[in-house]
């Protein structure tokens, strides 16, 4: 079977606007959740989030790109440029390089602004590029234009599993020999009034902090950003002397066929087992788990039980980095994969910050509050989404 490696990584998120800065924040256990400054924030009950501060799209993008992109696509463009620069991948006129960019909400702030104009402000016109900015495939399309990608290019939407699904599917396209390389990841920018108000309705958001696995947790906190990776067939990457950041050993994409929103222990277990089987590994080979770990009562309890069931007596360290960068929805798995790369390449396990009190229902070593040194040869990353959709990745050193 053709093997797949990661040869480039890029990100924009609330922790930093590049990979080194993000990893430094994760290693320092530095969180980015803070009071939000969005329009009409006084009408929100949830007023915290992990926003990308000081975003200056003009410093990175052309005028044409600026005029035709929502914030989520801007994040994707900048993250992808970083990943391509690191990888050194050359793209010719062939049809064998593409991009799959996950997103849950697409250009939500563009929709929000257009609705505000016509409903709240009584205007009868919206900006001409409203549709091409808000469409969920906008980020993938922009990457195609920016890097000359002529192969399979599309968006993928599975709510909070979108970017893990994107990476898993891109990996499968390379394994199948359909392409030689793919850009894959996710992008999300939901921290606008409508995006936050919609989440308020579900009553699962914390108004205070994200505290995954802590007994005192009381909900999730939204973030925003993007992470994009260059995935390549391993032999070709080695032949051209590309930097090998990790190998994708196994992927799984499964569904619970159960509840629309409630997490499923059986579903989570099945997805982790399937990813390990795809990697040809026993659970004991895993040295670190990056959890979905949203900080809701139900997710963390269910995920902890699933991890215990799969890993038995030898559960490796588990952390949720969402307490630092927020829940970045359709981009979250991609940003969390950066924590896995740090564990593999720098032997630093990112902590679960905001942790206050042990919860007997989450009986795991969650690397509380402070990062840990430790050799990690294999890492597993979970994403579980509304709809009962699961995507799990298993990565190793390259």
């Amino acid at each position: 079977m053709r093997r797949v490696v990661i040869t480039g990584a890029g990100t924009v998120n609330a922790l930093a606007q590049d990979v080194p800065g993000t990893l430094a924040a994760m290693a320092a256990g530095r969180g980015a959740i803070a009071p939000l400054a969005v329009a009409d924030v006084d009408r929100l009950s949830v007023r915290i989030g992990a926003a990308v501060r000081g975003w200056d799209a003009g410093a990175h993008l052309t005028r044409a790109q600026l005029a035709s992109t929502d914030r989520f696509a801007q994040f994707a463009l900048v993250a992808a440029a970083q990943a391509m620069a690191q990888s050194g991948l050359e793209v010719d006129a062939g049809l064998d390089v593409g991009a799959i960019i996950g997103t849950a909400g697409g250009g939500l702030s563009t929709s929000d602004a257009a609705y505000r104009a016509v409903y709240a402000e009584g205007k009868n016109r919206v900006a001409p590029l409203t549709v091409p900015k808000l469409m969920p495939n906008a980020a993938a399309g922009q990457l195609s234009m920016a890097h000359g990608l002529r192969g399979p290019v599309f968006s993928l939407s599975s709510a909070c599993a979108s970017s893990n699904h994107s990476i898993a599917l891109a990996c499968q396209l390379i394994r199948a020999g359909m392409v030689r390389a793919m850009l894959a990841g996710g992008a999300e920018a939901m921290l606008c009034f409508g995006g936050i108000k919609a989440w308020e309705g579900l009553r699962v958001m914390s108004e205070r902090a994200c505290r995954p696995f802590s007994r005192t947790r009381d909900g999730m906190v939204q973030g925003e950003g993007a992470a994009v990776f260059v995935l390549e067939e391993r032999a070709a990457a080695l032949a051209r002397g590309a930097p090998i950041l990790a190998e994708i050993l196994g992927v799984a994409m499964t569904a619970d066929a159960g509840d629309l929103v409630a997490p499923s222990q059986a579903g989570a277990e099945g997805a982790m087992r399937a990813a390990l089987a795809d990697a040809g590994l026993e659970p004991a080979a895993v040295d670190y788990i990056n959890a979905h770990g949203t900080g809701t009562a139900a997710n963390d309890r269910t995920e902890a039980a699933a991890i215990r069931a799969v890993f038995g007596a030898a559960v490796p360290p588990v952390s949720s980095t969402k307490a630092m960068h927020g829940h970045v929805m359709g981009a979250t798995g991609a940003i969390e994969l950066l924590a896995c790369l740090m564990a593999l390449n720098d032997s630093v396990i990112a902590p679960t910050i905001g942790y206050e009190e042990a919860d007997p229902d989450c009986d795991l070593d969650v690397v509380p509050n402070v990062a840990r040194q430790g050799e990690v040869r294999v890492a597993l990353s979970n994403s579980f989404a509304f709809g009962g959709l699961n995507a799990v990745l298993v990565v190793s050193r390259g």
Binding site: G201, L202, R203, V204, S206, R217, D218, G219, D259, L260, V261, A262, T296, A297, A298
Partner: protein
């Protein structure tokens, strides 16, 4: 309709039951309501009575809004309505 009747009607609708099957001492579990149905019922009560109900699905038992039974919900809604008047 009294507040009690309205609350029972809302809960019955979300639990897909007849109002006659919902009594003040019924627990939500016994009525077969999951957390999503509860969130929908809370929203319907807020809209019906024009009140804001403090309820977080992450800690329903510890919340400021007592949902241990239909009767406790009626009492809590009546409290919120009384606060609204004053």
């Amino acid at each position: 309709m009294t507040v009690r009747e309205k609350v029972i009607a809302i809960i019955a609708e979300k639990a897909v039951l007849d109002a006659s099957d919902v009594t003040l001492d019924s627990s939500l579990d016994a009525l077969g309501m999951d957390s999503l149905a509860m969130v929908e019922a809370i929203f319907a009560m807020e809209e019906c009575f024009d009140i804001s109900i403090p309820f977080n699905a992450n800690d329903p038992e510890e919340g400021r809004f007592d949902i241990s039974s239909v009767g406790s919900i009626v009492a809590a809604v009546e409290d919120l309505l009384a606060q609204k008047v004053t």
